[in-house]
Amino acid sequence: MNLARRDIQHHLGRFAFTTVGIGLLLMIVMGMGGIYRGLIYEATLLVDRIGADLWVVQGNTRGPFAEVSRLPANLEDRVRAVPGVASARRFVSHTIQRPHQGRALRMVVQGLSWPEDRGDWVPLVAGRPIRQAHYELIADQSLGLALGERLRLGMDLYEVVGLTRGMVGSSGDGLAFFTVSDSTAIQFDLPGEATRLERAARLHRLESIDLGQVSPQLSERAMAPANQLPAIAPPRVSAVLVTLREGADAATVAATISRWTDVTVYSTQEQRDLLLSGMVDKARRQLGLFRVLLILISTIVIALILYTLTLDKIRDIALLKLIGARNRVIVGLIFQQALLMGTFGFGLAWWLGRFAFPHFPRLVVIEPADLAQLALIVLGISMLASLLGIWKALTVEANTVLSA
């Protein structure tokens, strides 16, 4: 006869409510771990998916994911000339927040190096990759945009031609893929008055030097849009992505480019490490501490619950002692209940998490290894938590049954 099971059957409601409470607590512990995994996944998603072998960024910077990195767009041509390089692409990335249909739309603008890169590598759930040099975008579903929807950014309208899922930046904002020139236009979009003033200032500066005075054609060119004036205001990109030829040695190519003093080169792994050791690291440690605290709290809560359950049946335990039950019978009663509570709580946490986690604002990734680790932790805290109840049960005297 299993006393633990019979006791639970008799107090099923209380056991169920207690288990639900423990399950919710464990779901939070599970969620914390999942948020941490999601943070890493989101942070490294783009680096992993974009398929570059080397990242060339502004000299002495850590690249666009860590800080501002500005490079001339024509660096791409210099990089292509390096032996071992198969291709080079411009990379533009910046976050914007614009009003759209009465709400604030926050997105990470990602520039694709048109025409080489049309976003064919972006996993689409609907629509198609970019097919035009301008005014098209692929949007992550989290942005809430529909296929075919038009979006005004600056002075231009952009049409959503493709939808992707789970493509978010390290801050959790959805990605929107444009061509590099469009993303630059969005980034440097200025109000009309600011543009007019900037052009007037440009003309004034030109007229104040000999070159401007002797070349009226140059003055006319100075009034053109900035992005059409590479000599005056070359468009800037965040990084240049390098794909190596087959068999090329990445270290050799990186060493060659590193000799240019205006740039810094990182391998994809280095870029990934920089991401994780920078912005993700503090969040990771914070989540880790929260997780440890929650596990401690769970242990204390389960211990108190088991202690209370033990107190509730202290007369029964005294009676068992009186009729000669061995300690293992009594320990088994409490320990099995602790294990059942932990097991059901863990199962409930997992089951509830399947419904709850997808609704969290940040991605929650529950990996089998993390589940197994948490299961072991739950086993450990169940054992630990049962000690208090077991101690109480073992110290109660058999004659308590007479005095009760």
Binding site: M1, R6, L320, G324, A325, N399, L402
Partner: protein, 238 residues
Amino acid sequence: MNPSPDTHPGVEVTALTKIYGSGNTEVVAVKDVSLRVARGEMVALLGPSGAGKSTLLTAMALINPPTSGQIRIGGEPVMDGPRALVDLRAFRRQHLGFVFQKANLIPFLTARENVQVALEVNDVPSRAARQRAMELLEYLGVAQRADHLPDALSGGEQQRVAVARALANHPSLILADEPTAALDRQRGRQVMELFAKVAHEQHAAVVVVTHDTRAIDLFDRIVEMEDGHLKPTGDHFR
């Protein structure tokens, strides 16, 4: 038929003294009490409140060690003063049965399981324990209530189940403390009749602490206590 205590020893208490507290708070609950109860004999332990009956009973039940004196059960020495001479819990499991004022049934076990658990803690296999429990419940007339939880049983039925549990492991000594206090006259007598039946048919020594003299005719012997002593005239053979 009352067998001789010398040939069929149930419980034998020699010069037992129990003192609670010390110094100014010292209370002598039982003083120099000697008592023998043979197997097959049912003895009533009478006396006013505070006479030391329950203390003597709990000492014999091996849950309240005496300050001095010896206890032998089934001829085996088990206590010498406060010192245990055997594994008390194992000894209780194998040789003793208990019935209290309240039935003290485990609330989450059915009537049958309450009996069965006493057998299983004594290493009786589950199937055999179940069968024996049912036999006992039938013997005591509550087999039809075997699958009911204690809450669903009347006071008399609960006491019968408690008696069945006390009998489960064929104890040589059954100790009962005010077993009829919570029952009406008729049910109280029925329980006492059960004890007499058990003592005589199961050949167990039965010691019953009671204030209830309405069923006193059922006992083989009456022992009276007062102020921690056995009264000189208190050991009567019926």
